[in-house]
Amino acid sequence: MSPPDLAPTEPILAARGITKRFPGVLALDHVDLEIQAGEIHAVLGQNGAGKTTLMNILFGLLQPDEGALYLREQRIRFRSPHDALARGIGMVHQTRRLVSAHTVLENIVLGHPRTRGFLNLRGARLEVEALCNRYGFTVPLGARVWQLSEGERQWVEILKALYRGARILILDEPTAALTPPEVKTLLAGLQTLVRDHGVTVLLVTHKLPIVMAVSHRVTVLRSGRVVARLRTADAAEEVLVQHMIGRDIAFRTTNRSAEMGRPLLQVEQLSAFNDKGLLALRGVSFSLREGEVLGVAGVTGNGQEELAQVLAGLRPAASGRVRLDGRDVTRLSPLQRWRMGVGYVPAERIEVASIAAFSLVENTALNYHFDPAFIRRGLLDNAALEQLTRRIVTTYNVKAPSQYARARHLSGGNLQKLILGRVLSRNPRLLIAHLPTQGLDVEAAAFVRATLVEATAEGAAVLLISEDLDEILTLSDWVAPIYEGRFGAIIPRTEADAETVGAMMAGLGMKEAGVR
């Protein structure tokens, strides 16, 4: 790769002093970003660092509260993405925005200013084919989007942006849904675009290996602020990790007895496919004793959901084995596992863990409709369920108008307390808690964490899956950073520090397929 002239020249696109507030959150705090023509510029940061907000501002989807954008040092104002596109800035979003029943060509011309009124598909095809030839793309224009692989869809999105005349491409987490070979192809393709065609690429990611592999310069964001601006060639990976994670994590160790119970859960070389049929969990092994907490730390989408679901029985294991109390439970159904004392608090409270149209009592029944103690001659024992719900509502401080209120009227925090209370009321021996405090306010999150600690005191083993390093380091006995479906290590809490764990969450110190 021939690095472009990195001497401070006039930036092609600059954001200066950008501040953006959302209700209760300062998403961006006086952010400066400068992008040189013909470079791949990486914006690195953890989830919630403000990367996507910044990109949405650059693309005209959001308006900054303070600060301004400059294109070739001329102040510009984007009222909508149309303005950004008119100035040659294109964006490829993290989630695909394609019509899957339409052909590639139809998707590329869809929404193009020239296609208003009559559609000239034949003319458009010639233009798009010329574009493909110029950039060396091989995209089947006649194929329907649903027939394409995720990697091909990404190229359609890129082609769509180029067809609209984009010379600056913003890619938001472009490798998130791709297989390793697809990642390789994408990165090589981006390098060609930059080197041979003078396109400028702004790459937004939390994956360090990708930054190291292709970018010329990198800007690191943390909690809405720019914390570093470096040439990639000069940047040591460890330094980038430190910037990304920060050193200001406060440790609040909980005082818990050190002696642990007998081994409860043993997981050997567990692998599983995700919904797209890709191997998302790739050979995870660990064991967990009664009263222990294993904190799985990682950025969402690295196999955590698959791990939780395989353990709960909701997703088949592709290979490997799960033992509970020495008994092989790998092939048992969710119901059999509930009966054996596995409790699962999924990340998707509304979609999976509750039924919006049901009352609180009926939602409580979701974990009790199979329990003989709550069934009398085939009838659900409503009085017992009502009493149980009342107990959960009081114990876990669920604020609800009544037990017969619909779950959809509960706030996220109250719904989570109800779900957690319901699962814990079964006295599970193994509790799988996936993002248990995500989106909760400080008070509710603290309550949930305290509840988890209490459960371990009563002998439950807890598998805590979280993105919040602080939470993981506070609650866990063992910390397992997860990246692309593998544990980087399993570190005792006393030896775990934010930098090591953070580096592993970003893919350092792990064998990375496809990039290196």
Binding site: P334, P346, N367, H369, G378
Partner: protein
């Protein structure tokens, strides 16, 4: 929508009172009847005579009342056949096919046991009748279960499968009763053989026992969904399949179960009309008419919002109006198809009343300041 200084909006109605539910139904019926006046205009009778003919035959004439009762029983079973899978979030559009399967199986019992000759009954008639009903239910369950298995195991759309099964079973019946078919009647008129009188369903108060069965099931189904663990599982699956699976419910088993039940109910409708209604006791050449009529079970279940007891009055009204309108059509030389048109109108007004039930029109006066033109310039900075 803006009209001068006023604005017309559709707003969600907060929890409507119970009386309102009944009231909207009554208004919907009256509106349908008012709209049907247009159908009667072309005839040379007074409107009032047309309505009188429809209602007096359907609900007061002894022949008409019986016809209404039989049709109600038939439609009720069809309603349950749709309702049970519907509570699990699945669409059973296979009512006609399952009705035919029930009819065929019911007639297969005397055919196989050589009991269509009254002199050679191999078993007591009571037992034979129970066998016929059981065979019908089993055949309907198998037909429904076929769609259920495909849905649960292979995610094949149940609507497509049940629709295709309708066609397959329609032609299977045709093969069985038309030229040379095994069930063909001796006179060979495209009908099945008639049942010997000993195999006619016993009558209670002048109506077949299937009436008691249909009303009993109405009570049981509402109880099932309100009180039992199984009913809870079906409802949970219907509201949120992912949550149901999380809660330990097995989607394959549940989808299969509701389709087995639904198919069995539709088959009972088939048994009732072909094997239990006095004067029929055979699969008639116009069996396709009854199959199509089964679709009104879908409408009744939807209007009753999944309540089997709630569906009873709706079904009786549908049955009565279709029977009465068919009578009035012949009597007063009304245009052909007036019975279907009347049901269609009723359907539309019911559906419209549902929107009004959940929403209301609201007239609001627009505050005068909002009408003034807003300055388009943004302030400095």
């Amino acid at each position: 929508m803006r009209l001068g200084r006023y604005e017309l909006t559709l707003e969600p109605r907060p929890a409507p009172p119970a009386i309102f539910t009944a009231l909207t139904a009554v208004v919907a019926i009256l509106l349908a009847l008012a709209l049907s006046s247009f159908l009667f205009l072309s005839s040379h009778t007074r409107l009032i005579d047309a309505y009188r003919a429809v209602f007096s035959y359907a609900f007061f004439n002894p022949h008409g009342v019986l016809a209404t009762v039989h049709r109600s029983i038939y439609l009720l079973f069809c309603t349950y056949a749709f309702l049970v899978p519907f509570r699990a979030g699945l669409w059973n559009i296979g009512l006609p096919g399952q009705v035919y399967a029930g009819g065929l199986a019911a007639f297969a019992v005397p055919f196989v046991l050589r009991a269509h000759d009254p002199q050679t009954l191999p078993l007591p008639p009571g037992l034979l009748i129970v066998l016929m009903i059981a065979a019908a239910a089993a055949a309907g369950a198998a037909t429904g279960g076929f769609a259920g298995v495909l849905r649960a195991k292979l995610q094949v759309n149940e609507i497509l499968v049940t629709m295709m099964l309708n066609s397959i079973l329609f032609w299977l019946v045709a093969y069985m009763i038309k030229e040379g078919g095994p069930f063909m009647s001796a006179t060979g008129e495209g009908e099945s053989f008639g049942l010997p009188s000993s195999l006619h369903a016993p009558l209670l108060l002048g109506v077949p026992v299937t009436a008691a069965l249909a009303l009993g099931v109405a009570v049981l189904l509402d109880l099932l969904f309100a009180k039992t663990a199984l009913g809870y599982r079906i409802r949970a699956f219907g509201e949120n399949p992912a949550a149901a699976r999380y809660g330990g419910i097995i989607p394959v088993a549940l989808s299969l179960l509701v389709f087995l039940l639904g198919g069995a109910f539709a088959a009972l409708a088939g048994y009732h009309y072909f094997a239990a209604v006095p004067g029929v006791y055979k699969i008639p050449g116009n069996y396709g008419y009854y199959g199509d009529l089964g679709f009104y079970g879908i409408i009744a279940a939807l209007i009753a919002r999944g309540s089997s007891l709630g569906a009873v009055p709706i079904v009786v009204l549908f049955a009565g109006l279709s029977v009465g309108a068919r009578f009035a059509q012949g009597e007063l030389r009304l245009p052909f198809g007036v019975d279907y048109a009347l049901l269609g109108l009723l359907m539309m007004t019911f559906v419209a009343s549902h929107v009004l039930y959940h929403f209301r029109f609201a007239w609001r006066r627009i505050p005068s300041e909002a009408l003034q033109s807003v300055p388009t310039e943004l302030p400095e900075g």
